[in-house]
Structures are given as C-alpha cells and as structure tokens.
Symmetry: C2
Subunit: 370 residues, 2 copies
C-alpha cells in the first residue's frame, strides 16, 4: 500500500496515523469500523468475501470512494484464496464475487466502476497467475489513484478557499470516506495545513449522524475549529450570512452534472442558490458515471426505517459501547431515503483532482474525460 | 375550564381524552409532561410560580399558544396563593410574577401578549378581590379563546385541504402545543375527521425531536396515516412531488408577515418556493406581534449545545424512562438556534381562526386586526 497517511487518530491522547482500509500481514482486509466511531476505535477484519460484503452493506465502511476501494479489495481477496485451476474458474470466481459486491449498496457508482474495471482486465490469453497478478496490480492502482486523487482535490479545492473562511459540509466526505484525506474535507485539511483560518459547520446528518460522529471526529483530530448543527439549522445559518461556502462529497455524478449524495445535500444546494453562496462538490474520477445522463435515472437507496426510529448513543463520554436506541414514537412509520439528487444547475463547480469543473457542467465533464 | 377535549391519548390500549394543561381539584396546575412523551405519559404538577417557570423554561410545556396559556395560569396561581392586603401588593405580586415568567423563553410572543393582557387589567379603582376575580376571568377567557381559536383554525384550514392530500409539517403544532386541537395539526385533524384521505410527513425536528416524539404520538393516537422523516429528507420528498402542501405553526408573526418558528421551518419555506408547493402557517391571534415590524428584530433563542450533542432515548419500546444520551463526537462545539425566521414572501397564506390571510400579508394582517 502507498506509504503516506494523514488520517490522524487520537487514541488515549496519543496521535497515530491510520488509513481507513489496509491489508494486514496475514492478508486480511482491515478497516476502521465506522459504525462505532467516535465512541470506540475498533478495527474490523474481513477475512472472506461474505465479511467484506457485510462491511459495505452494514456501513462498517461507507463513502463512495471507500466503497469502491473496499470492493476492489474484495475481488483481490477472492483470487488470493485457494487454488484456481483455469481461466474459466477464475472468471467465475471474479464474476460471482463482483455480483455479490454489486448487490451491497446501489447508489455510489465507485462500487460499479471499480468492479467493471477489474472484470474488464480478465484475459483468457494469459495464464491464471498472470491474471491474478494483473488484478492485484489494478487493485493497487485503484487504491493509489484514490489517495493521489484525494490529495489533488485538496490542492485544487484549497485554491477556492480564502485566508479566512467558514465552510459548511454534510455527512462525512473525509479520510474515512476515502482511504485518506477525503474529498470535501481534503480542501479543508489543506487550507488548515497552510495556515488559513477555517471554521467548519458540520450538519449532523441524521439518521446515521456521519457528520456529528465521523466528520466531527476527523476535524477534532486535525484540530480544525468546527461546530455541529442540527440539519434543520442549515437554512438559518446560511441566511444569517454565517457560511461562506458549502463543500460536499458525491456518491455519483452523472454526465449532465446532476449528482447523488447523502440525503440533505439537495436542500443545501437550494439554500445556497437562494442566498448566492458557492456550492461545490468534490469527487475523484471514480465517482463519475458517464453512462447515466440524468440524475432522474440514479437509484436512490431506501434504507431501513429502523435507522430513523433510532440513533446510536452512549450514556457517558467515556463509554465505548454505543447502542442503537429508540428516539421516536415507536409505532409510527418511517421513510428513509439515504440519498438525494442535486441538479447540475445548483452547482457552482466540481472540485476534481486536477481542476475545477465549471458551468456548463455537461460540457466541462465531457472535456474532463476526453 | 371549557368542557370539550379532543386530545386522544392511548394509555394501555384504552383511549382517554386530555388537554395539555388544566387545574386539578386542589388548584394546582397540571400539565402533560412533554419531555417524557411518547415514552411515558406523566403529569407534571406546578404548585408554585417557580415550578411553572421551570415547566416553560425546561419545556415540560412548549408551543407558543400553550406557553401563553401556561403563563396566564402562572399569574392566576400567584394571586390564588396567600392573602393580598392592598392593590399595591397585588400589583407588585403580579408584576414580579410576570417578570419571572417573561424571562423563561424569549421567542414565542404569546407569552408576552398574555402577560401584558393580564397586567393591563389591574385596576386600582376596584378592590383587591374584584381585581383577582377579573384576573381569573381573563385567564379563563384566554384559555377559552385559545381552544376556540384552534377549533376555528381547524375549520378554516380544512377548506384548503383536498379530498386526498399529503401534508408535511415540522415540530409539534398540535394539541400539545396549545390546549387542544393544535394550530398546524388542527386542519389535519379536521380533514381526517370529515373523512379525507390524509397522509402526514413529519420532520423529526432535531434536536428535541418534537416531530418524531410529539406530533407522531398525536397522529398515532388519532389514527392519522403518517411517516417520520429525517429533517434532511424534506428537500428530497418535496422535489419528488410527494408533498401537496406544508403547514407549520408559528412562535411569533410580526406585522410585515415574517414569522419565527422552530428551526428548520425557513428551509421548508425555501423548498416550497423552489417547487411551487403551498406553504401555510397556522396561528391564533395571540401569536401575532404587531409592534415588531420585521423578522430581523425577533430574538432567536439559542439553547444549550447539550441538546445537539444528545438525544432523548429509550432502550426498548416498553421502556418508560427516556434519558438524554450522547450521539455525537463529545468534544465538538455545537450551535443550537431553536428558531428561525421565515420571510413573509415565502408564505402562501396564514390560517387564522376566522380566515386565510393572503398576500400581501402586511396589509392582510393590518386589516385582520382592525
């Protein structure tokens, strides 16, 4: 794995550096268990495909780029295991695994882009072991590119941030959503690193509270000044002139510039338009879906109503065992769309690893991939 | 107290009728303890002014009209107690109590309107006992008017609701926010009562979850079809065409038509404007503040960050002891504005007890009070 790591984790007052996913010395996939943060820092070990699929589906890992990398690791995992006798067997193993992985979560396109990329290198004209080497090399490239791209997003996005700036974000588009650095948080990290005076308003992001749990934890570890607000307070904060810009991540950007992201993102885009605040999306190449032409065609994952009815909580600051507990009238129905679609027209620009894509986005995206 | 009661409460599968506040046989103010709903149905007894102030400040009772009625009961409580020897003593007792009550919460104007109304009837030309009788009669009038007005809002608002309608609301503007029937929920109750096919989308309303706890509980008790959604999902639901209209309550409507209401309301108004969905506010007369000319001049209560960091929860459906538990990174700062301001221009109409006030609202409000 690539050497640098920037995800600072404070454990018992000591700072350590981690990435959100890695292979351990036994060839098992290790991941920071994001269901348990910030209450407890635990490593989830996926030693087989079933566990890797579980990790994506149950959100041990989440965030579009990280879902993509985890899926890549999952495909490497199945070819690492056991003896594969011929190409047909290899192909079957990879396609079956890809099929299982593709069923875990529907919205983040990085998952499908990664699976397609690895499937497409299968080559019946070379040996099984050469194929496996190529898969490993491709998985390593995917991880390396994800890291490099996030660094690039940080550098490019930082150019948009003035010396003193208050930025609002939603969900977690940080190191935890990628391998390291993040997408929406990468420019914030970079701006902080170069000494700019940054304040971040973090929408808590119900129901799974990735803002209040994960983004706040990352920002705290980095020493970046931040406030957590209720999702409903975003409009008030923006209308009061407290926010200079909004930067969010993405789960899927389609060819006309529409994009899917965590539920609540669309609302932020409408509020930014109303108040003429810049609204930026930050994403690596793997988050683009050029085959889909409109946000209307993106499948929005509907997750369990149980996530709405409950919230992960602990009884005390030092308690490490968070539990899902009931916070609502328990006999009510719930509706839980996990993502929403923001139309291209509401976007000021897309922060990519190499440049800012500006309006008209359809044209800029086409040129970017040419 | 006025005879009718419509707040259905299901306790152990048996339906009883309650109002949100009443005098018990010993002359003590009884209130449904709204901090504990829906997990436990408990009566809070305020036997002195300090307890009544506590009940408002700590949100045993909440909702602008109910805050007003509770304050009225509080003033009656102080003149009920002990022997008052002369007018000056009476005046001092009432003004001191009024001063204490006025410090409990700053945004809902019903509180101040009620206190002013009762203070203004003090009359040095009549006896102390005649003054006390007048206070009691006025308090009774305030309660009766609140009830009648909510019924009126139900009848008037129902005229806006088609035979089949999906309505979104936020916070709790129901029977629990008034004495009975509610403001925003009164038209919904009425529409349901007359057999219309109603579905309600309830924004859970972080941080105190009055939507998910209180509105959902009321709608469940009434048998009205409803879904609880994350506050961040409102934009998605509206953009998908799922919502026919939004009806909200108000904490203070000023003379130009701007109004304060629960944090998140402003965002809903912007989303409704974006999607050309009707956005209605429902309020009794006591919620109007004709002395304030613009929403900019309304004091927005900033409540403790602890409310953001935590959520009331129970471990199981049948558990009755809800506790505030930590749901965020505990070392982050929080910002917790309890209300926001929606500008008059975003309002389709104000549902009052006797008519719908339409644009231009400044003129309609002036005429309404002439």
């Amino acid at each position: 794995m690539v050497g640098y790591s920037n995800l600072k984790v404070i454990i018992n007052k000591e700072t350590k550096n981690f990435q959100s996913i890695w292979w351990n010395e036994k060839g098992i996939i290790n991941m920071i268990d994001q269901r348990k943060l910030p209450f407890s820092f635990e490593i989830f070990e996926a030693s087989n495909l079933k566990q890797t699929c579980f990790a994506i589906k149950e959100m041990v890992v989440r965030g579009a780029p990280l879902i993509g990398v985890t899926a890549a690791f999952g495909l490497q995992q199945v070819v690492n295991t056991g003896i594969i006798e011929n190409f047909l067997q290899l192909e079957k193993i990879v396609k079956n695994a890809s099929n299982e992985l593709s069923k875990t979560r529907p919205t983040a396109v990085d998952l499908f882009n990664t699976l397609n990329r690895i499937e497409s290198i299968l080559d019946s004209s070379i040996s099984v072991s050469e194929n496996i080497e190529q898969i490993k090399a491709t998985v390593e490239s995917i991880a390396k590119e994800t890291l490099e791209e996030c660094k690039g997003i940080g550098d490019i996005g930082n150019q948009l941030i003035p010396e003193k700036c208050t930025i609002m974000t939603i969900c977690n588009a940080g190191a935890l959503a990628t391998i390291d650095f993040g997408t929406a948080l990468a420019p914030i990290r970079k701006a902080n690193e170069v000494g700019k005076e940054i304040t971040v308003y973090v929408n808590e992001t119900r129901p799974r509270i990735q803002g209040g749990r994960l983004t706040a934890w990352e920002l705290h570890n980095e020493g970046i000044n931040h406030y957590i607000n209720a999702d409903g307070a975003a409009g008030h904060l923006i209308s009061q002139g407290k926010i200079d810009m909004v930067i969010v991540g993405a789960d899927r950007i389609v060819s006309n510039g529409d994009f899917a992201n965590k539920i609540g993102t669309y609302t932020l885009s409408v509020l930014c338009k109303e108040h003429e605040i810049p609204f930026y999306v930050a994403a690596p190449r793997s988050t683009f879906d050029l085959k889909t032409t409109s946000g209307k065609d993106v499948i929005i994952e509907e997750r369990s109503g149980e996530e709405i009815r409950t919230a992960m909580s602990v009884d005390a600051i030092n308690e490490t065992k968070a539990k899902r507990r009931i916070i609502h009238h328990p006999f009510s129905q719930n509706i839980n769309p996990a993502f929403d679609i923001t139309p291209a027209k509401n976007i000021t620009g897309i922060i990519t690893p190499t440049k800012i894509l500006k309006q008209p986005l359809e044209k800029s995206i086409r040129q970017f991939f040419e």
